[in-house]
Structure formats: C-alpha cells, structure tokens
Subunit: 130 residues, 2 copies
DNA sequence: CTGTATCCCACACGATACTG
DNA sequence: CAGTATCGTGTGGGATACAG
C-alpha cells in the first residue's frame, strides 16, 4: 500500500517492512513517538546527530507510508506535532521483539569476550524445518 | 557482541538489530536459512538478483555477527553449507511479527492487485511462534 | 520554530572477470 | 562449486545556508 519505494517485488513481509523502517533514524523516530507526541524540535534534540534536512525527509517518508501523523498548528511561531498513526503503533509493537533481541544479543550479552566472536561459540544448530 | 559496524553508540536494541539485519539481502538470507540449511549456490538461486560478491559479503557479516554458521566440507568439488546459529534462529523469530506487519500493511492486501502476493509461501515463521 | 535548497561524499551495491 | 578482485555507480545521508 503506501508508497513502496522499491519497484514492487517484495519477496515477503519482512523486507517490505524493512523498506518502510530502513532509514537511519526511523526506528528512533518511531521509538520517540511511541512514547509521546513530539514537536519537530523535540525530535531533533532527541536524536543527537540528525540534521534538519534528514529528519524532515524521514518524517515525510514515514508520513507517506502512513506511519506518522503530522499536525500543523497555524500559529506564530509555527508549531508542528508528530504522532504515530494506528499503523505506526502496530509497527512499533511489531518492532518490540526485534528490540528485545537486539538488547539481548548485540547491546550487551553479558559475556566479556562478546566483542570478538570466536568460532567455538556459535552453535551450528540448524533451524528446524519445523 | 561481534562486529558492531557502527561506532558503538546504539540508542536502543532496535537500531542495534537494524544494523545487523540492515543489508539489502540479509532478511531474505535469514528467511531462506530459516527453512533449511542451504549451500552457497542454492542461496544465490533463491535470491534473484544478488551477485556472488554481495551474497558472500553479507554472509560474512552475518557470520561475524554470529547469526549464521558456515560449514565447509573439504571435498572436490567444494561444498559449503550455511545454517542459522541459535542466535540466528532467535533473530528470525524476532523478525516474525515485523513480517506479519509488513504483510498486513504494506504488501497490497486490500486492493484488487492482492492476487499477486502468493499468500501461501510468504510466511517466514521459523517455529512455533505462530 | 519548522522547515527547503544546494552541494558533496562515502559507502553499499552491482557488473564483470578471474581463481582454488 | 564457491568464492575473490576490480572497477564503476546511485543514493542515502551530512554540512551549510537560506526562507516562511
């Protein structure tokens, strides 16, 4: 549906989702907006290192994909608030297990030698065909 | 854990995971290996459009991240089999909800073109998660 | 405050050829 | 069969400046 930037051939749902969420800052934006509604400037402060151009671009894409809602208040000075749509909330929830995996397996898995994977610690067990 | 390609500052688990799984073909590789062990050539045939160079590179990265296991058989002609590690299986499972979201929200489901999507084979489920 | 408009560049990816 | 080696490229993203 929304604005698939890639040609049209998604092999499965995962890479379709990856396309939506693939920008460098998007999951962080999702995460921030998952907590509460945020203004543009708040988002920028929340994501150290992002530039306005890129933040605006990713916000646009997320909006085009129906993930975030942009509410513009015609005041002066201008105020714009971003929030998650229902679809965005669902996406955020679908991301949660991945976040848990990341915390458990790449952030800090507890082992001091975690930095370098030696060949004897990766278990070759095969994914079950079932 | 292994080989964080990004500087070191992951804000949360999700972007850490995104870094691991961020390559263009990685989720597809994960998906394929989730079904069964595959040889290099089988993988290449499975992923239409990937070149050997890129496939090899992404495989190397996944291996370095402890996601896939590479088993080389000293035969002639050479044979190499790739499989998921326990960590890879867990990652694949963590990806499942995202895959479901993608199927439901970006793969054209409500439109007349929905017939293009082969709904019988695109569920990436690895194990009993479903 | 909330953005565009340019310019620029690294790096992921692709094409092709070659090797153990 | 299972890869490397080389070279070329597109584009996502960064810096900076400007605008409503």
């Amino acid at each position: 549906m929304g604005t698939a930037r890639r040609p049209g051939a998604y092999v499965c749902g995962v890479d379709a989702a990856m396309d939506v969420v693939g920008g460098k800052w998007k999951v962080l934006i999702l995460w921030a907006l998952g907590e509460r509604v945020r203004r543009f400037g708040a988002l920028r402060r929340e994501l150290p290192g992002v530039t306005e151009k890129v933040l605006a671009a990713q916000l646009r894409e997320l909006e085009a994909d129906g993930i975030v809602h942009r509410e513009e208040y015609p005041e002066v000075p201008p105020r714009v608030e971003y929030s998650l749509t229902a679809r965005g909330v669902a996406l955020n929830e679908a991301l949660a297990p991945l976040g848990r995996w990341g915390r458990d397996h790449v952030l800090d898995d507890g082992s001091p030698a975690a930095g370098q994977v030696r060949e004897d610690d990766d278990v070759p067990l095969v994914a079950g065909t079932a």
